[in-house]
Every structure is written in structure tokens, then in C-alpha cells.
């Protein structure tokens, strides 16, 4: 019993100590000129879905959940955000080359069709990010239309 108590104390101290290591926050609070909404007309319904289900990891503005304040929850989240933004950043979409834009739109369609995005670990804690079939269709209808128009320009 004495031993267990000691170990629990060590764990507790470690847990308290890591709380002081806070990762940088992804909150620019502004809409860049390269934002997708500045480059293309994004319909309101699609924009709403993007904001609730995608922007936390795929834009420069994350709405941080409660567990982000508790480490290592915040670290885990920071890691996801940095990976997500590297892959696709809606705040930076306008800086992509035309080919890359087309590929990204196609990748959005693929990952939504296959259900790989939004991540299941994310939708587990964010109920509003669970996409209904109707929402999926709205996104895909828009991305494929935009993709076709971009392909004919090139």
C-alpha cells in the first residue's frame, strides 16, 4: 500500500509538472488574403460545415476545447493541428499552385467519401463534426464543381 501511494504521488507530481509546458496556440484571429473564402465563393452551407468540422485542424484558427488546457491533451491536439495544417490549410489555400488546389479538392472528396476525415478520434469528442450524408453530399457537390471549373481554366 505504501509503495502504491508513493508511485501515485510520483505520477501526480509528473502530471502537475507537465501542465507548465503549454504548446503555442493556433489562433491568428484574422482572415488572410489567401483564405479560401477570399479566393473562391464558398456557399454559406459549405462554409458552416467547414467551420464546425474542419477548421480546427485545417485553418489558422482553432476553437480550443477544454481538454486542450490539460496536458498532454494539449500536446496531442497541437500535434494533430500541425499535421492537419501541413496537409491542407484553408487559410492558406490561395497560396497553393493551381495544380495543388485541384489535388486538394479531390483529396477532400476522397477522404470524405471514404470516411477518413474528419478523424474518428476528433468526432468522438466533437459531436458537431460528425457529418451527415447530406452534409457530405453538399461538400462534395461544391468541391467537384469548383474542381471542374479549375480544370477547364488550365
Amino acid at each position: 500500500m505504501q509503495r502504491t501511494k508513493k508511485w501515485l504521488l510520483v505520477l501526480l507530481i509528473a502530471f502537475v509538472a507537465i501542465q507548465f509546458i503549454q504548446p503555442a496556440r493556433n489562433e491568428s484571429g484574422q482572415v488572410l488574403q489567401t483564405d479560401i473564402t477570399k479566393v473562391y465563393l464558398v456557399p454559406a452551407n459549405v462554409q458552416t460545415i467547414f467551420e464546425s468540422a474542419c477548421y480546427d485542424c485545417h485553418s489558422n484558427n482553432t476553437r480550443y476545447p477544454w481538454y486542450s488546457h490539460i496536458q498532454p491533451g494539449g500536446w496531442w491536439l497541437a500535434h494533430h493541428i500541425s499535421e492537419g495544417r501541413e496537409e491542407l490549410n484553408f487559410s492558406d489555400f490561395g497560396s497553393y499552385s493551381s495544380k495543388r488546389r485541384i489535388s486538394k479538392l479531390r483529396a477532400i472528396e476522397n477522404s470524405i467519401n471514404e470516411g477518413t476525415m474528419p478523424l474518428s478520434s476528433y468526432t468522438l469528442l466533437h459531436k458537431d463534426a460528425r457529418l451527415t450524408d447530406g452534409e457530405k453530399q453538399q461538400i462534395i457537390a461544391w468541391t467537384s464543381k469548383l474542381r471542374d471549373s479549375l480544370a477547364t481554366i488550365n
Binding site: F15, S98, R100, N110
Partner: protein, 195 residues
């Protein structure tokens, strides 16, 4: 109190699991890469007999990828993806004209990312094929702009992606379908001959 302790313990375990996964995939990639070196050297040796093209290495890693996909070999495909990333890194832009440079950079920004994804997705050949589909358009443009220094064929498969179809480049006139693999190896037609 108990809850907090439990959470801390659970998260530490979770983190450790996360980490070991990463390491595993890294070492996996390394071993795959070493097998690739030998195959791409062999391909380069035959290429030397033909006239040189600035995109020769990129194209040969693409063809390697096409052949491994046709034989449903996800690991070989990943290795070819890594080889293509290296070929892009080594590419010398200094001899290009301003216009060629623009085309190259436009293609590279996209193609390199596809190659990276293909390299990272051994074990998920479906995903590799999705990227290969997009990559093929990029490589087509590179070949159109710079030439490949060899005879190539632009092929079309009408069935892939639920009948939406997809294209690829091949070094042989015979069809060897990288999208459907062994399931339908000869599905497709030559739509253009590239010199």
C-alpha cells in the same frame, strides 16, 4: 482526485503507444528504401543508352511505381514514391528557361506531395492509387514540356474510380493496368504516343 491520476496514467500510456507507432513506420520506410536503390539503379542503367532528359529520373521512378502498382505491390510502390521525392530534391533547375521553370515548379509543388504520400502509404494501396491518379497528370505535363528521351505511351483506363476513368504513362505498348492491378491487368487503351 482519482480521476485526475487515472487520466494522467492513461494519457502517458497513450502517448507511448503513439510514439512507438511512429518509430515503426520510420524503420519500415528505411528498409523499403534500401531495396529500391538496387531496382532504380538497374532502371537508370538502361536509361543511359537513350538521350538524356532533365526529368529522366523522375520519370523512371514514376514508371517503377506504375509497374509495382500493376503487380499490387504496395511496398515497392512506396519505395518508388520515396525515390521520386529524392529525384525531385536532386533536380537541377538552373538550366531551365523561365517558362520551363514555371511549369516545373507548378508541377513539382503538387507531384512531390503525391510522391510523399505514396511513400508513406505502404499497406494502403487504394490510397496510393488515388495519389497515383493525380500524379499521372503531373508527370504527363512534365513529359510534354521536357520530353522523356524515350518512347512512352499515355494510356486510359475507363473503369477506375467508379467509371470516372483515369490515365497513366507507360513505357510499353502493351497495357499493364496500375489502377486495377492483377484483377484486370489488361484493361485500358493507348490514347497517345509520347516521344
Amino acid at each position: 482526485m482519482k480521476h485526475i491520476i487515472f487520466m494522467a496514467a492513461a494519457s502517458i500510456v497513450f502517448f507511448a503507444a503513439c510514439d512507438s507507432n511512429n518509430n515503426q513506420s520510420k524503420t519500415g520506410g528505411d528498409t523499403v528504401q534500401s531495396t529500391e536503390v538496387t531496382t532504380s539503379n538497374a532502371a537508370a542503367a538502361t536509361d543511359n543508352q537513350q538521350s538524356a532528359s532533365p526529368v529522366k529520373e523522375i520519370v523512371s521512378s514514376y514508371l517503377e511505381m506504375k509497374n509495382t502498382l500493376a503487380s499490387d505491390n504496395d511496398k515497392g510502390t512506396a519505395a518508388a514514391g520515396d525515390a521520386m521525392v529524392t529525384a525531385f530534391q536532386k533536380f537541377d533547375k538552373s538550366s531551365l528557361t523561365a517558362e520551363q521553370k514555371k511549369t516545373y515548379e507548378d508541377v513539382e509543388s503538387d507531384a512531390r506531395e503525391h510522391a510523399e504520400h505514396i511513400g508513406k502509404n505502404a499497406g494502403n494501396i487504394k490510397h496510393q492509387r488515388e495519389h497515383f491518379d493525380m500524379l499521372s497528370k503531373d508527370i504527363y505535363e512534365l513529359v510534354k514540356t521536357f520530353g522523356a528521351g524515350r518512347q512512352l505511351y499515355y494510356d486510359h483506363c475507363p473503369m477506375y474510380n467508379n467509371g470516372k476513368g483515369a490515365d497513366w504513362i507507360s513505357e510499353t505498348k502493351e497495357i499493364s493496368n496500375p489502377y486495377l492491378g492483377k484483377e484486370m491487368p489488361t484493361c485500358g487503351t493507348v490514347k497517345e504516343e509520347l516521344k
